[in-house]
Symmetry: C2
Subunit: 453 residues, 2 copies
């Protein structure tokens, strides 16, 4: 994209309403605009990151064998009356009356609706296992929406639901989700630690929250420092293998790691003192097994192999997609602005033309831009007639991980500058080498292809 044709309304001043760094930087980088309390427009730069995150989630759910679909944002209240949650949910549920005075609500989650879909169409154990998920806008009428997209009212969430014949099968689905989430977060450049959590209003005996460590996190967390040494990496896990998924669960959850809600001083005291850590964490996902909590009252039954009707075992599993942008920025920024991990950056590389209007500099920039595009990369070319300092400040603020700086002086010896946003390190290389380096850096990001099983 040429910046002269783009819509990137960066702000020079810090917006007063922003209390935390991610909110401030998202406003300053022209990523979001608040439309009313807790409801945001995603300006082009913010939307691009949202799409990258969505894409990673879709790919990793496909790899796990989970099936995408889409439920509507509005739901009939009657479904929630069946489960008993319509009255329980309280003021966070946005209740609506349509023109015919029928009760609707803006879905805060989808256990009831997915259970309704399941019971309408599935009748036999032969159709199991089944995991359906969607990525859809939700609404929770927070009393104090704040921190930008971290605690918005209208928010984008991935929520998935597994249906299994037995508790054992459902726990395998739980483990599959844990594995797929670890892989998803790592692709986004995040370390998200699974911590034992509390069931809350969804209910559930088995549940883990995924937390990203950050000073501005809403939860206090307690953990064994060994846990931050774990990485999922590029393992080839067979998601159908009960043993392989179980081994990942054990590896990532056997050490102490809990939020303040489930923290237990007595158990924590057994961690060697030099490995005990407390910090703040941002919740970016949660997985639940809740058995027949919804299938029994709502009649989601299947025939087992003996012909008997049994309620299915279910779980639900969520990733806070819009919230992740905030979490990624909280964990990846400096005084100058955002530092995007390569996996989610809105543009792969910035091109800064130091002398817009100079024929040979323009031509060199155009050639680099075209060649990067030809290699499947997505560059942002700052072709505005602006001072170099202003161009650098914008690039640093919006946080593209790599920058190619092109000026007439360097070009006389066929050199451009290749700069890492994270380290600030600059190298002088030929334009061709800069392009080749960028292509190599992004090869793992662009090279992801996931086919169905």
């Amino acid at each position: 994209m040429r910046l002269s044709r783009y819509f990137l309304p960066v702000l020079k001043e810090d917006p007063k309403e922003a209390q935390i760094v991610s909110h401030r930087l998202m406003l300053r980088a022209g990523m979001i605009k608040q439309q009313t309390a807790g409801i945001y427009s995603w300006l082009p730069l913010g939307f691009k990151v949202l799409r990258r995150i969505e894409q990673i989630v879709h790919e990793e759910q496909a790899r796990a064998g989970h099936i995408p679909m889409l439920m509507p944002t509005l739901q009939p209240a009657d479904l929630w009356r069946e489960s008993g949650r319509y009255d329980d949910y309280g003021e966070e549920m946005l209740r609506i009356k349509d023109r015919n005075k029928r009760d609707l609500l803006y879905g805060p989650t989808n256990e009831e609706m997915i259970t309704d879909i399941f019971r309408s169409h599935v009748g036999s154990y032969k159709d199991l296992p089944l995991t359906l998920y969607h990525i859809q806008w939700k609404f929770r009428d927070e009393i104090r929406p704040r921190f930008g997209v971290m605690r918005g009212r209208e928010f984008l969430m991935k929520d998935g639901y597994n249906f299994d014949l037995t508790k054992e099968d459902a726990l395998h689905a739980y483990n599959r989700h844990l594995v797929s989430y670890l892989r998803s977060y790592e692709r986004m450049g995040l370390q998200a630690i699974p911590m034992r959590a509390d069931g809350g209003p969804i209910g559930g005996d088995y549940t883990h929250e995924f937390l990203v460590l950050a000073e501005t996190g809403e939860s206090e967390v307690f953990y064994d420092s060994q846990i931050t040494d774990l990485t999922f990496g590029d393992r080839d896990i067979d998601y159908d293998s009960v043993e392989e998924c179980q081994a990942v669960l054990e590896e990532f959850t056997s050490r102490y790691a809990r939020t303040d809600e489930t923290h237990d001083e007595a158990v924590y005291a057994q961690v060697p003192e030099e490995r005990r850590r407390t910090a703040r964490g941002i919740e970016v996902g949660q997985i639940f097994y809740f058995g027949t909590k919804y299938s029994e009252p709502m009649g989601a039954m299947v025939r087992n192999s003996d012909g008997a009707q049994v309620p299915v075992h279910m779980g639900s599993h969520g990733i806070g997609v819009s919230r992740l942008l905030g979490a990624i920025i909280e964990a990846n920024h400096d005084d100058k602005g955002i530092i995007w991990p390569e996996g989610v950056t809105p543009f792969h590389v910035g091109i800064v033309n130091l002398k817009q209007g100079d024929n040979s500099t323009d031509a060199a920039c155009d050639a680099i831009y075209a060649e990067l595009q030809a290699r499947g990369l997505d560059p942002l070319y700052d072709d505005r007639d602006e001072r170099a300092g202003a161009k650098f400040a914008s690039m640093d603020l919006i946080g593209l991980p790599w920058r190619i700086t092109v000026g007439p002086r360097g070009l006389t010896s066929n050199k451009v500058e290749l700069t890492s946003r994270r380290t600030g390190q600059t190298e002088e290389v030929s334009p061709q080498e800069a392009i080749a380096r960028i292509a190599q850096i992004y090869q793992p990001v662009l090279g992801v292809t996931v086919a169905d099983k």
Copy 2:
């Protein structure tokens, strides 16, 4: 995708509630489920088609230089009070009170909000031209929701908005949209005819609707038969060229084509009698130029080159994304089911195993499945233990354009059957040839890459 792992709840019986063929077929093919009047879940097969259509829209908007973003589903009522439409809009607007008794609404369209975004961030003619769009769920509280996704209440729409300094520039934006829409619809396998339309509640002097001819269309249309001979084809249009875009507009709108709302018998009578046609049409899009209708009351001004503050010239341009699924099916089906155009089909090809459990037949199917995936194709492999007749009926119903049928008898001479859903024609070819043929057929569909300008 292996059907044994998928969620494809096809219905054997015709659902009673469906009055038109697309609604009936979408229910029978397990594409949608109604959750309450006019509100649908998109089951996996329906969701796949929705995503294909979205992708085409995104690619063609990128080609035209239009910038994607995303506005929220809920909007503050105050914005609509500014434009004066809050009271005008009537009962089709879904009005909501949040827990703090503030007035929200579920957006039926976004002129107000995009104008608010523009005025907050853009101040100079140098930032023009600018066209922003999004694809987002909308709500219109129809008094009689019906015809499935054709007239739902919660529906997915692409709406784009251009901002220009002059009327002349804004009409070029109008023409760009016309060109990009013609190309989008053709990629979806549709002929959508631009017809002179009525401004309606959005207002506007210049407006065209795009109509797909189909017996079940809601509008009566009148046209010169020459118009159905026009195709956009694979033209390389420079969207920045005023002349090239204007020429397309003239080519596609100079012949008589109007809906009953704007039909003029006197003008129609000038069409040679043998070329006069009346038919029914389904509206799948509309483009508007409305000048300063929103920018003046809402204060969306820019400095022009003389330093004077002038209101921007705007237009809005919509494609009914979810409705398109219905329109495509209305125009592409037979007694057995849907016939997807290659550009939007949920899976590219079906593989039918005639003897599941037979080692060599299973192995041949697995090899074909893997090889199609390796070529970037998306096959659906019916690996269920079902009769051949039931497998054929499902494939015909869900309408994949191509089918490869694999059985033990054919394999003895290294043959499989390659069948076209549209013509019913079957050829006996080797598995390798079937794969090569499918890859060749989809080359234009898979080969689309659109880089930013």
